[in-house]
């Protein structure tokens, strides 16, 4: 999916609390009521149970593919694991535990299998991962689910209906209540996920892993978490689906069903919960609807239609139905109101203290540098990108880093922030050696950075980006996040307050819900700086912030930088090409060329040095030099 193609926004709210209660009550009461009328016949109730199971499975795939961007062409293997586990736990010849225990076991088993698949996913990209997931789907269908212990061979696994006391849910309409309740619960959990730091972290990982790491997201851990969550939900779907039929065999979890699930999720719109659930119901009910209209001769054509629909949708709308709907909505909004006026480009960054969720930064002895980099070497194949570079940044200063293109400045930045591992050298942050720490861990110690090509999650709104940037400031657990109980309420309130204050300071309130990708480059840069500062890091690394800005805007930027140093008391390391800006704000200046640091010292003096001028202009230095 291209970054700016569709403006996907995370919904600010799902069903309000009373809404979920209404949904649960409806789910519980409506089916049995309708079941006693001819409106809901037994076979139709069974079909709807099946649709509910598939909808839950679709939500699970949406978590993995839509939120976290991990491709999975074998999701039904996780669903199957859930179904068979339920059978093993609740079966009359097996463990005979209550049905709910079976559902929990199904979720656990699904999560476990997904985790096992996720581990290789950390090292494999896109298409390789796709092939591995296909292979897993085949192993499930043809091998694992046919082992007699697990799946009963071709006899299948019997999954008894749940019972309460002596009364069992054997009537399909009654069981449908249970299935719908499960769907509502899963829906709400998904809503909570998306509103929590976990959902935001998934979106960040999907958009750009480096950016996510710079916001403190442990990319590997979150990928695994996405797999585990997806597997758990799929397992629940399997429990619901399997119990509806009472007996399941390996053939109920074929590879083509996994493909169908991909169809459903893509057509519904990756990332859109409602679209995905609607597509699931549509796909399951369509065959019977067609047969009802055209008679049973049409059997088989429904699959043809499904598949044709997929191919068409992918070709025209890579973002699926929900994407098309969102696009239409955007068009309408744009037609209605014009563009809001541009916000002031000189933001008033709020002075926020350290967030309560983050530890206080290390106390630094007077005189010690905030950042101390020694002897960094980075080699890419035959090219020495960074050659024995060293620099130090003192507290409360703005240090500049200049050099011609290809000098290795951004590479050095990456080595400092942990985005790449240098071949040798040492990085110390606030007195602590961080050379072995990954990027997200360094972010936790108090480093914020921006990127040359704007390090934001372009598909999300400005507000969401500000929340993502505070990933580390809201350290609540998964349980709290999914249920919105406990620590998450406290932390979410805090980071939203901070985000509100930052928005105000930036003057971007009107743009709060605008996808970042739709702002102008200069506006994006300002948002990016806001995000870099929102957790009050000690050290901020800015990579060519003035690139693409007009001279007037660059002046405003200079003022902003000075504010950061003087008003907020932060330390800044700045890569820049704009010499007047550099001379205006920096307290110290380093110059790199061909990977080496060739000069450092007082800015005005450094820029006039012959070796610096040669590095930029290439020939004999101009006599008069550049004056501030």
């Amino acid at each position: 999916m291209t970054a700016v193609s569709v403006h996907r926004r995370l919904p600010a709210r799902g069903l309000p609390v009373p809404g979920i209660v209404v949904a649960l009550v409806l789910a519980a009461l409506l089916p049995p009521l309708l079941g006693s009328t001819p409106l809901l016949s037994d076979p139709h109730a069974l079909l709807l149970c099946r649709a509910s199971g598939i909808a839950i499975a679709a939500i699970s795939l949406n978590i993995l593919m839509g939120y976290a961007g991990q491709i999975s062409l074998g999701q039904f293997a996780f669903v199957g694991v859930g179904a068979f586990t339920t059978g093993i736990v609740t079966g009359t010849h097996d463990l005979r535990l209550p049905w709910l225990a079976g559902v929990v076991a199904a979720a656990a088993a699904g999560a476990l299998l997904a985790l096992l698949v996720g581990l290789p996913a950390l090292r494999l990209r896109g298409l390789y991962l796709a092939v591995v997931t296909i292979s897993v789907a085949y192993v499930g269908w043809q091998s694992l689910f046919r082992v007699e212990r697990i799946g009963g061979g071709s006899a299948g696994k019997v999954i008894p209906r749940p019972y309460v006391g002596g009364w069992s849910f054997s009537d399909n309409a009654t069981y449908l209540s249970l299935a719908l309740i499960a769907l509502v619960v899963v829906w709400q959990v998904d809503v909570n996920l998306v509103r929590s730091r976990f959902g935001r972290a998934f979106q960040a990982v999907k958009a750009d892993e480096k950016v996510a790491a710079s916001f403190g997201v442990d990319v590997a851990r979150y990928k695994l978490l996405a797999f585990a969550l997806s597997g758990a939900v799929a397992g629940v779907g399997g429990a619901v689906f399997g119990t509806a039929f009472g007996t399941v065999t390996g053939d109920d979890f074929q590879y083509s069903t996994s493909l169908l699930l991909v169809v459903i999720v893509v057509i519904g719109g990756l990332g859109s919960r409602a679209g995905v659930v609607a597509a699931a119901f549509f796909a399951v009910l369509l065959p019977d609807v067609l047969i009802g209209i055209f008679g049973s001769g049409i059997r088989g054509l429904d699959l043809v239609i499904n598949a044709a629909l997929l191919v068409f949708t992918i070709a025209r709308h890579p973002d699926g139905m929900a994407g098309a709907v969102a696009e239409a909505r955007e068009k309408r909004a744009r037609r209605r109101g014009g563009e809001p006026p541009l916000p002031p480009t000189r933001p008033n960054l709020p002075s926020l203290g350290r967030p309560s969720g983050m530890p206080e930064p290390r106390r630094l002895r007077a005189g010690r540098p905030v950042l101390d980099v020694a002897g960094i070497n980075v080699r890419f194949g035959g090219l020495q990108a960074v050659d024995n570079a060293s620099l130090r940044v003192d507290r409360g200063t703005i240090v500049g880093l200049m050099g011609p293109n290809g000098a290795g400045k951004t590479t050095l930045f990456n080595a400092i922030t942990g985005a790449l591992r240098p071949d040798s050298g040492r990085v110390a942050l606030l007195g602590q050696d961080v050379s072995d720490l990954p990027a997200h861990a360094r972010a936790a110690l108090g480093v914020g950075r921006t990127f040359q090509l704007i390090g934001l999650v372009k598909g999300q709104s400005v507000y969401e980006n500000l929340l993502i940037a505070q990933h580390l400031a809201a350290p609540y657990g998964l349980g709290s996040g999914l249920t919105r109980v406990g620590a998450s309420r406290w932390y979410e309130r805090e980071i939203r307050e901070r985000a509100d204050k930052t928005l105000e300071g930036l003057g971007f309130q009107r743009f709060a819900q605008t996808p970042v990708g739709r702002l102008s480059h200069g506006q994006q840069r300002i948002v990016e700086i806001g995000c870099a500062l929102v957790t009050s890091p000690e050290l901020v690394l800015l990579d060519e912030p003035s690139a693409g800005m007009s001279p007037a805007a660059a002046e405003d930027l200079a003022a902003t930088l000075r504010d950061i140093r003087d008003v907020l008391g932060r330390t800044v390391l700045l890569i820049e090409h704009n010499v007047p800006l550099v001379l205006d704000v920096t307290d110290e200046l380093y110059v790199m060329d061909a990977g080496r640091v060739i000069a450092n010292g007082e800015p005005v003096e450094v820029v006039q040095r012959p070796e610096v001028v040669t590095a930029y202009l290439g020939t004999a230095p101009v006599r008069e030099g550049v004056s501030a």
Partner: protein, 511 residues
């Protein structure tokens, strides 16, 4: 589990008998279309010609033992009734091998409907169904039946869905149904998987049928049995395991169990290949393995040694490794405990590997015709719960039920001339037809005031009779739910038309 083991002594039964039991039991089958492994059906053999003097005269019941008796007569209602079943004793269920013996039962069936009706009806013995459930699916003018079967595979046998309904069509058209009730039968595809079988059963339930009939499917039937138990349907199904049926009340079968069939294969191997080294290639399933366990249990009796036992997954496709395993284990006899399509595939591959032991398998013309002369090299052996069929061949072991074959062919000529009875699906259609005929006989025996409970009584009153000449005797006096232990032994032969078909060598073989 019902505890009625009434010998036909009481007057109530006599009356019932008068109404019902005319013909005799047989290994009748569940009227199941699309039989893949076996079909229920009839076994020829029994029939035997009338002999049995029409009983008339009450001997009802006499003859102590197992009643058979009783029935008597005439009455016959319904098609096929015909003469009274044997009177006098004999018959009846004595043990095994009722081959040929007339034993009483049997009535030649013949179709002549005999009028009859009988005296006033008494209350049914069975209390399985509540008053509300008792009359579902049956009205004075119609009986509704619903069948779940593997329609998906109809084409593999060269047939169409509609080929399986000819018997009922003829019955409704020519005789106005059974006792004035038209028989409406619908079919739901169970796709040969347990999950879809449950869906099919659910769809059938929505049509409120009098009976749910279960077609071939060792794996599907147990799943549906669970379903009908919870939903109180009247289920008459094809062969399935007895294992797992403890406590189940709503399922009945007129065919031998899986365990019994497994035993029968051992019997056949023992009879023909005493002392042989046997290899087994079996379906990996909890519903198939009881057959193998039964085989292994009685194999020592015949000096048979199982030298290799390979489990294979359903539709494995490539059996080369298993064939080579059998070869290297030195098996002279190989028992293929898989369905007809899988068996055919396996045999093709075995021939390609030049491996020619004696083969034991489910006998279907699909297999023998597909293999052609390979199926004679050596001739294949089979155990079945249905009669053999070879179009136009009424000689030899076909003669005892040739009349049924001719009636079958006549009906198809009239109502479904495009069906290829001499092709790979001919025997499937015949065994399906025979099963439907047996059921029709039993529905007739249920009488004018037929209800589900009365139908249960009809089934349970069979103690050694066969419903038609192509069927084997039934005996429900055991647990009241499983009525047969008889199988047919078959072998391949070159039919007069040149095609390689199967024919009976022994009919209605008991344990």
């Amino acid at each position: 589990m019902p505890t009625r083991h009434r010998p036909g002594r009481s007057s109530a039964v006599a009356v019932l008998a008068a109404l019902a039991l005319s013909t005799v039991a047989a290994c009748s089958s569940a009227p199941a279309p699309a039989a893949l492994e076996q079909n229920g059906g009839t076994s020829n053999g029994a029939v035997p010609g009338a002999s049995g003097a029409p009983g008339a005269a009450g001997t009802t019941g006499t003859t102590g033992t197992t009643g058979t008796g009783g029935t008597t007569a005439a009455g016959a209602s319904g098609p096929g009734a015909g003469t009274a079943p044997g009177t006098a004793g004999t018959a009846g269920g004595t043990g095994s091998s009722r081959v040929g013996t007339t034993g009483g039962s049997t009535a030649n069936g013949g179709s002549a409907p005999r009028g009859g009706g009988g005296p006033a009806v008494a209350a049914p013995r069975s209390t399985l169904f509540t008053a509300a459930e008792d009359r579902i699916g049956i009205t004075p003018s119609s009986i509704t039946l619903c069948v779940h079967a593997a329609l998906t595979y109809a084409q593999a046998f060269g047939t169409k869905d509609t080929d399986f309904n000819v018997f009922w069509q003829a019955l409704n058209t020519e005789k106005g149904g059974i006792l004035g009730r038209k028989v409406n039968v619908t079919y739901e595809n169970d796709n040969y998987t347990p999950t879809d079988a449950v869906t099919a059963a659910t769809k059938c339930k929505a049509k409120n049928p009098f009976m749910l009939l279960g077609g071939i499917g060792f794996d599907q039937i147990p799943a549906v049995r669970n379903y009908v138990e919870q939903n109180h349907m009247f289920y008459l199904h094809h062969t399935a395991t007895i294992n797992g049926t403890a406590g189940q009340k709503y399922s009945f079968t007129e065919l031998p169990t899986v365990e019994r069939v497994g035993e029968a294969f051992a019997q056949l191997a023992g009879a023909k290949y005493k002392g042989a080294k046997v290899g087994i290639i079996e379906r990996d399933s909890a519903n198939w393995s009881p057959g193998v366990q039964a085989f292994k249990r009685i194999a020592p009796r015949y000096g048979i040694k199982v030298v290799k036992d390979n489990k294979v997954a359903q539709n494995k496709g490539n059996y080369t490794q298993d064939i080579l395993d059998m070869k290297s284990a030195g098996a002279d006899v190989v028992w293929i405990w898989l369905n007809a399509l899988e068996s055919t595939q396996l045999l093709k591959q075995a021939k390609a590997q030049d491996f020619n032991p004696h083969w034991l398998l489910f006998p279907f013309n699909l297999t023998s015709q597909t293999l052609g002369s390979d199926a004679m090299n050596p001739p294949l052996d089979g155990v079945a719960m249905y009669p053999a069929y070879s179009k136009g061949d009424y000689a030899g072991t076909f003669s005892s039920y040739a009349a049924d074959m001719k009636e079958f062919e006549a009906q198809y000529r009239k109502y479904d001339p495009n069906a290829d009875l001499s092709g790979i699906g001919g025997d499937l259609l015949f065994l399906n037809w025979v099963g439907q005929k047996a059921l029709a006989v039993q529905l007739a025996q249920c009488g004018k005031d037929c209800t589900r409970n009365r139908m249960v009584d009809v089934l349970e009153s069979y103690k050694g009779q066969a419903p038609s000449r192509s069927s084997c005797p039934l005996d429900f006096s055991g647990d009241g739910h499983r009525g047969s232990v008889d199988v047919n032994f078959m072998t391949t032969y070159r039919s007069p038309s040149g095609k390689i078909n199967w024919r009976n060598t022994s009919a209605c073989v008991g344990p």
